[in-house]
Symmetry: C2
Subunit: 721 residues, 2 copies
Amino acid sequence: MTQNVESYESIRPLLYPESVAILGASENKYKIGNIQLQALIDGKFQGEIYPIHPKAEQIAGLKSYPSLTDVPNSIDLVIFCVAYDQIKNGLIACAEKKVKAAIIFASGFSEAGEEGKKLQLELAEYAKLNNIRLLGPNCVGLVNTSNGLIGTFSSSVLDVPMSGKRGVGYVSQSGAFGVLTYMAAAQYGINFNYFISSGNEMDTTMEDYIDYMVHDDEIEVISGYIEGAKNPEKLKQAAHKALEKKKPIVLMKTGRSDAGSRAAASHTGALAGSDKIYDAFFRQHGIIRVEDAEDVIAFSKLFNPNRLPKGKNTAIITSSGGRGINEADRCEAYGLNIVRLSDETMAEMRKTLPDYASVTNPIDLTAAASFTNPEFFLDTLKVLVNSPEVDNILLTEFPHSWDEHNEYFKEFITVAKNSEKFIGFFPFPLGEITYPQTTPILIENEIAVVSGALNPVRALSQLVEYSQFLNTVQTDGMEERYEHENIDDLLTPGAVLSESEASEVLARYGIPITKRYVTLSAEEAVERALQIGFPVVLKIDSQQIPHKTEADAIRLNVSSEEEVKEAFMEIMKNARNYNPTAILNGVSVQEMLPQGTEVIIGAKNDEVFGPVIMAGLGGIFVEVFKDIAFKIAPLSRQDAGTLLDELQAKAILDGARGQVAVDKEAIIDVLLRVSQLMLDYRDQIKELDINPLIVYENGIKAADAMLVVTEESIKKELIGG
Amino acid sequence: MTQNVESYESIRPLLYPESVAILGASENKYKIGNIQLQALIDGKFQGEIYPIHPKAEQIAGLKSYPSLTDVPNSIDLVIFCVAYDQIKNGLIACAEKKVKAAIIFASGFSEAGEEGKKLQLELAEYAKLNNIRLLGPNCVGLVNTSNGLIGTFSSSVLDVPMSGKRGVGYVSQSGAFGVLTYMAAAQYGINFNYFISSGNEMDTTMEDYIDYMVHDDEIEVISGYIEGAKNPEKLKQAAHKALEKKKPIVLMKTGRSDAGSRAAASHTGALAGSDKIYDAFFRQHGIIRVEDAEDVIAFSKLFNPNRLPKGKNTAIITSSGGRGINEADRCEAYGLNIVRLSDETMAEMRKTLPDYASVTNPIDLTAAASFTNPEFFLDTLKVLVNSPEVDNILLTEFPHSWDEHNEYFKEFITVAKNSEKFIGFFPFPLGEITYPQTTPILIENEIAVVSGALNPVRALSQLVEYSQFLNTVQTDGMEERYEHENIDDLLTPGAVLSESEASEVLARYGIPITKRYVTLSAEEAVERALQIGFPVVLKIDSQQIPHKTEADAIRLNVSSEEEVKEAFMEIMKNARNYNPTAILNGVSVQEMLPQGTEVIIGAKNDEVFGPVIMAGLGGIFVEVFKDIAFKIAPLSRQDAGTLLDELQAKAILDGARGQVAVDKEAIIDVLLRVSQLMLDYRDQIKELDINPLIVYENGIKAADAMLVVTEESIKKELIGG
């Protein structure tokens, strides 16, 4: 923990410098060195500004200095407005001057091939040795709207209204996308406290800024744009801390599509992990993944820590039937529930509403409410705030005629304010918010007013999910440890373990496997079959023949001594023909498992996230419907349960189609043991598949398994094949 | 066909009257009778306007008349600005004056209970007898922007820019939603030729206006908002005609969610059929279903009959990596394909683009292209228009510095114009289009410029689908007739037919069924079993016991004479215990079918669309994944094939998991026979289920069936149960 505190504190000079020097300041107003300087001045930066220029006496009205060391006072932050080949000398000067931080815009580093990559590593190393925190390179810089630090040459960030809601921080791995989002947010009423473009992340990464904002009391919502996580462990820690503080992290992650992730890989230095795994990571740690910039803005506008939605049950008040239906469709499409109102609630509304109004949800007050009878809005709100079945109240229109002096309006505000329910006014998706007299008062009184252009229903659904996650997640004391035996002897580097070897690994981690014996002769096979009891299964056991069916080296339902002998001979022959050079460990004789529900559990060591655990149901569920779910190790018991719940086919496990429910606890137990195994042998196990794992009403058994040992793992002395 | 022509011609006076009278014209500017009159004047209506007022000499500067009959000239259209109780007298006056059409705003009709419904029917009948076409009641009227006919009291429609693209007509069942869409469209550059609010549709319906627009050469895109179709047959005919003319019909249908359709039913008089069936209907007839008003506008902006997309393969040109990835994600989410560019294409681009640009799709020209090197846009376009793998070219940014005099820009326009590919410029989702010098020229030259706020990628994907549908659909000569026997004797009104009876219906329509005999004694059962060959299946046959498993009155895999006897006795006993008053037809002895792929085919007589055919795969596919698809009868062979292709699990039919492909032609044959059966007996068959239908590599057999006869059907003399 101490280390974390240090880490986020060391970033402070990037955001809150008391003095800034512009290296490469210029008098030419088309040059970045001038644009950046002017932006700092125009932004009314609350600190010292030192232009650095070899010859100029003064630039933009400020005294200029020939070099950093010529500046008489200390410098917290240096902004590099120079090309990539001048960065190194600049950093040496920074070190001399004991500068705390620097922003580097230049490109020509890790994004530009091997040379650039090398240079970037070298500079990062140098900065670290000299305690200089860096933002960039290949970025557009940062903005801190609290102190006027416009640390970017993208000076159009100054051309936006600054009257919006604050308390939101934004960090982006894409410069252009970030600037566009910053500007759109301001247009729609959100002024980010910070906007940071993290670029190549040679030193500070997205995760550092997220961590900083978790610790910053001014920030209520942390948001950003991410292509790939450099430091998922830090992101996870920050996410847990953020959950404790009820501070949502809202990230737009691109590269969802194949094409997108091809581009993301060539675009940044980040190793874009498979998008599904990111998805799992975000869900597991309560990070809200959004699709678009509009979601970031809408979520920020909706979020109010004092008015978190209690659930999905939503009531809509409309004065246009069509709008009401459309909004109801949108709510249900995004997973909200258009609640069926109780008879009491409807009767209560009927007391004041006329016959032609509809009191079923969506509640249609008709056009009369917008024009002649705006008090219907108040009457309806009064009923709904007291309806226990309603969590959220949405309005699609609002009386045009109300203003701050209107008594109905005043009462409306009082009723809304005294309620703890989420209340929102979401005007027509393509319209403007044209209620200048009442909108600011609504917002001030915790009614979320969000233009339909921002897709607020989608954001509300995410807010509901976040709120539910906060209520159910357990982030502490969640890891369970199982006893297990050492498996070092089995992990031949680079090997694909035979079924028997892989099963042995599972057995040593306490996962139930089928009774099995690898036999070397037909006679031994018969002996073992008798010992197990008929019917049995016979399969070839060889690291070099993972696809036993393809080799015709597997026999099911073998029921007599005679059949065992015959099967043994055939399997050995077929295996030899299939792969003449394979090392054949023998023929594995196994118990024939009774029918049960087939489950698949897989695990792989992901380059970004480390061990990732996958589960699905066997057969068509995986093959046709691709119905699988992921979690990142370590799994808590809650994670393992959620993993199963995320399967579309979970009803099967719970006993759909009149069948008995299976032993889910047994599956969870296997998931937790696999999680532990994968972490214990993180450097040695590349992939593991248990397929199928047969689950019964009581109990479970792994019927087949496959394990790939990492090639680079330390060679060990091995017993057997 | 003659009737259709008449029908659409008779609507013309509503849209193109030469003279309009305002019944209920008023001098009070807060009254509808004044607002409507003023709107006609402000809209510069190109025809005569006659205010009707009992006393006034003149209103709004126009000569007023005490009654319709006092007007010296003929009147084409009367706009009723009076309450519901004054409509009848008004219509009588209209009839006297030989008025051709009328618009009625008033509410208080079918939406307001039984009384209103009766009044509405009466007035509709009266108008029909007197050849008066009506729009409304309970509507906001209509706008024709070609002749200045502002036939609505919602005069805010006058407050929008009128410089947009034309050729789009819009008809809405929701007044308020329609007005909002009309206004948003104008803000985003589309001026509807017509906007019609169809209200309660007492006479003219949405379908009439759609049909009118199909025949109107000024209209290129027909759009609308629908809650429920009053006349699906007319909509279908209009849709087919529109396909021939390559005129897309774009409808926003609400009531997708449960709650939405509850509201739609209470909101309009329309019988909202199940949303899934609407979906099927739209898809089957090439009607483009959209989610939101933004889609209507975006689609209208994208549509150009000369530049229909050739396919899904899309290339993105960006100057911001982040924007490119995000747009690629969006394309793939909506079913477009971010095409992998050929080596030739990439090599060609490399000839002019610098190393730091990325030539993999999305093609990232980097920020340089927006600022210092805008010619990169031109260079890239030149390559892509000649790349055979690319169907659509999208730009996410455009050079700010170009204007109409710029040589690069001129060449860009020439290259784009000479290409047949779809080319679009879709700026940042939340930004404005801020390229005032070049945007109009781009649009003029068939480059679609659509603000990201309108979700143009989704609309493009719909345009691609429409274009593909146009190329593949066969709308003519598609019905096949099968020989069949009469089934009248089997259709007892209100009965749920026994399995044997329902199977007999299928057999008479040429659908293969299992060999089966209903037996009355254990001895007869044995005899029949020997005739069929062991093993056999025994089941109770009774209309009163449809759930045979529940009654424990079914035995599978019965393999000997002894077992048959025993099974017969048990089944009769269990059936009798289960339902002491049931009429037991006997025990059905059937062949035991070998294993095959289970398919379900169902049909029901929908209140809106008539017979609807459903297909799915048996077991978990239907029960867990709800993997079913619908088509409306009559099915063409193409429809039946598409129906199967729409199943998620279609891979199973094609032989997934190493199994053989099944006889799809046999399934299609059954679908077509069921379609014909359901149409032939439309009034008598309420529901039919074949479950399971067992399909083999060659051939098919219905293993069980259920048929519900409509209660109101004409009683017939019946043989048997």
